[in-house]
């Protein structure tokens, strides 16, 4: 399923805020049609990394290339091919799901009719077509998360950033999100997925980068990471993290 061609290349990324090093010399690549998991505890540097990749933050050092465009020199080209689902529910809650999708679609350059059609399709994809006209504030947490993803898909991105898309939601919505992500990958999309849930990363991701204290401490497929600690048998990613950092992911 995964292509051999790298769609994203991040080289030696660093970013600090007021003397605090949030991301420190991080490098990785993501192949076309790959689901790449960025795994780490809260405050590890996952969101800062995504913000640099998504053109929101300028890195202090390092280079990013996405789909043959350099983030530093061609941010508007990069924005044309990415979709971002931030960790926060980045929605206008007083407006309907359709209004949110159409608005963000139009901000991404779609015409009115195109945006309406895309909104209908994306709400169907996340299983919310029947609630399209309802104000988002009336939705459950899980439904809002799904709308959050649907908005990120409005620009028809080639690379989708999903920053902790399953935080605080019910198992039904979580499973729906998993199915959606897998389906998008199967349709040709490349996905960067951050989470601090090990089982999620294990289930979804083709490759995983484990980040802690702003540094990339391990990189590989789930099997490679499990094998790397040399215990054999049914090793979990939780144990991998414990072995690499000396503490639990939930600490």
């Amino acid at each position: 399923m995964t292509s051999d061609r790298d769609f994203l290349t991040a080289k030696n990324l660093s970013k600090s805020f007021g003397g605090v090093q949030a991301v420190n010399d991080v490098s990785f690549t993501i192949a076309e049609q790959e689901i790449f998991g960025l795994l780490g505890p809260n405050g590890a540097g996952k969101t800062t990394t995504i913000r640099m990749l998504a053109t929101v933050l300028d890195p202090d050092a390092g280079e990013i290339e996405i789909g043959s465009y350099l983030v530093r020199g061609q941010p508007s080209r990069v924005r044309d091919i990415i979709g971002v689902c931030p960790q926060e529910l980045a929605l206008y809650e007083e407006l309907s799901a359709t209004d949110n999708l159409v608005f963000f679609g139009r901000m991404s350059g779609l015409g009115r009719r195109e945006a309406k059609e895309a909104a209908r399709g994306n709400l169907e994809l996340v299983g919310l077509a029947e609630r399209a006209s309802d104000a988002v504030r009336k939705f459950s947490g899980g439904m809002k998360r799904r709308v959050n993803i649907a908005v990120a898909l409005m620009s028809r991105p080639k690379l989708l950033f999903l920053d902790e898309p399953t935080v605080g939601i019910d198992p039904q919505s979580r499973n729906h999100i998993f199915d959606t992500v897998l389906r998008l990958r199967d349709e040709g999309m490349t996905v960067l997925y951050t989470t601090h849930y090990m089982e999620e990363a294990d289930r979804l991701c083709d490759r995983i980068g484990i980040i802690d204290g702003g540094r990339m401490i391990a990189l590989g497929t789930p099997s490679e990471l499990k094998a790397s600690i040399g215990k054999g048998g049914d090793v979990t990613l939780e144990e991998v993290f414990l072995s690499l950092t000396g503490r639990s992911l939930r600490d």
Partner: protein, 382 residues
């Protein structure tokens, strides 16, 4: 240009879907205007009823009653003798004025006569005020007749009564001393001043609405999402600025229409000019709001900075308590409210058009340009 318009339209859609905000920005100014109008505007400073028993029914007593009715704030209530006595006994009224039989005839003949004041106790505050007014009006009416009678009596039967009547009538014009109420400077109508004050005060709240709007977008992640779309920061600013200015224009329009339809405070020409000036004022306060939004890192910081600035400007502008001179008057010239209040008041009162507001227009225009520039300079997407 399309994206700023889309930003403005989504902002207005959110605004219109929030009933509380709608109530705050549209209904509250109307309520405030109504309360202030009820408290300070429109009503005369005196409001009394003169309870009168007219036993004469002649032309002079009729003239006296008409003149009493025409005094601002005075109402005349007529009784017969029995009704008046009964009302006094029951304390339903505390003072009654009795015009005697033959009142008109006696005055025409130059004979002295008198209006009797019947009182319950000391007659009440209203009764005393009414007595003073009735006395003044009676002197005005009877003065001319007394002069005529005295002249006729002095000249004897051969005198020309018609010419004497004309001469006496000519003396009944404007008195030598006139007492006239004045409110504020040139505008005697408090309704116009109240309208201008309420408009400027509520439009100032656009500062806080605009200030928190961008900070809220940053906090809930929509700003980040917008900044990863094709929208540029400049387009975002123009969109927010348009939305806020339009909101101010809607507020101004509602209040002006209310004043025009319900109170006839100005003609259509004044209305259009006042609206144009209000739109400029709304744009200026929107730009100030965006500066705060660019500086504030949290919603609380944005709201409290905006509230502080709004209160400061309202207090020091002298909108509600005018500063006639001294340092406070000088300080008031540096507030946006003062320029807006004075201009709107003058335009609505018809004592000056928008073309006469050169300084105010220049100040507000400069605030728009400098405010937008400063806001963009201090704005950070993250």
């Amino acid at each position: 240009m399309l994206r700023p318009l889309l930003i403005a339209s989504i902002e207005l859609k959110r605004y219109s879907s929030d009933k509380a905000e709608m109530a705050f920005s549209i209904a509250l100014p109307i309520v405030m205007f109504a309360l202030m109008y009820g408290a300070f505007g429109g009503e005369p400073s005196v409001s009394v009823t003169a309870h009168v028993v007219n036993l004469d029914d002649g032309p002079v007593s009729e003239d006296l009653l008409q003149r009493l009715e025409s005094v601002d704030g005075v109402t005349v209530a007529l009784y017969d003798s029995t009704e008046a006595d009964s009302a006094l006994d029951r304390s339903a009224i505390l003072t009654a004025f009795v015009i005697p039989e033959g009142f008109s005839r006696d005055l025409r003949d130059g004979k002295p006569t008198r209006i009797t004041v019947k009182r319950r106790g000391h007659g009440g505050d209203e009764g005393q005020v009414a007595a003073a007014i009735v006395s003044g009006v009676a002197q005005e009416v009877t003065g001319g007749l007394m002069v005529r009678g005295m002249v006729l009596s002095a000249l004897g039967d051969g005198s020309d009564a018609g010419r004497i009547d004309e001469a006496v009538a000519s003396l009944g014009g404007e008195p030598a001393v006139v007492v006239r109420e004045r409110a504020g400077e040139e505008s005697a109508d408090p309704t116009v001043a109240i309208m201008a004050a309420v408009m400027t005060m509520f439009m100032m709240f656009a500062v806080s609405l605009n200030a928190q709007s961008l900070v809220a977008e940053r906090a809930n992640g929509t700003l980040e999402r917008l900044m990863t779309s094709r929208l540029t920061a400049n387009q975002l600013f123009v969109g927010k600025f348009l939305a806020s200015s339009l909101r101010g224009a809607v507020q101004a329009l509602v209040l002006l229409l209310l004043g025009f339809v319900a109170m006839r405070i100005a003609g259509p020409g004044e209305l259009v000019q006042a609206l144009a000036y209000a739109v400029l004022f709304g744009a200026a306060v929107s730009a100030v709001g965006l500066v705060i939004a660019g500086l504030a890192r949290t919603r609380d910081q944005a709201i409290w900075s905006a509230v502080f600035l709004t209160m400061l400007m309202t207090t020091f502008s002298g909108t509600f308590v005018p500063f006639e001179s001294g340092p406070m008057e000088v300080i008031s010239r540096f507030t946006l409210n003062r320029h807006a209040f004075e201009a709107l008041r003058d335009i609505l009162a018809g004592s000056g058009g928008i073309a006469d507001q050169g300084l105010g227009v220049a100040v507000l225009g400069a605030v728009v340009v400098l405010g937008l520039g400063a806001a963009r300079a201090v704005f950070r997407t993250y």
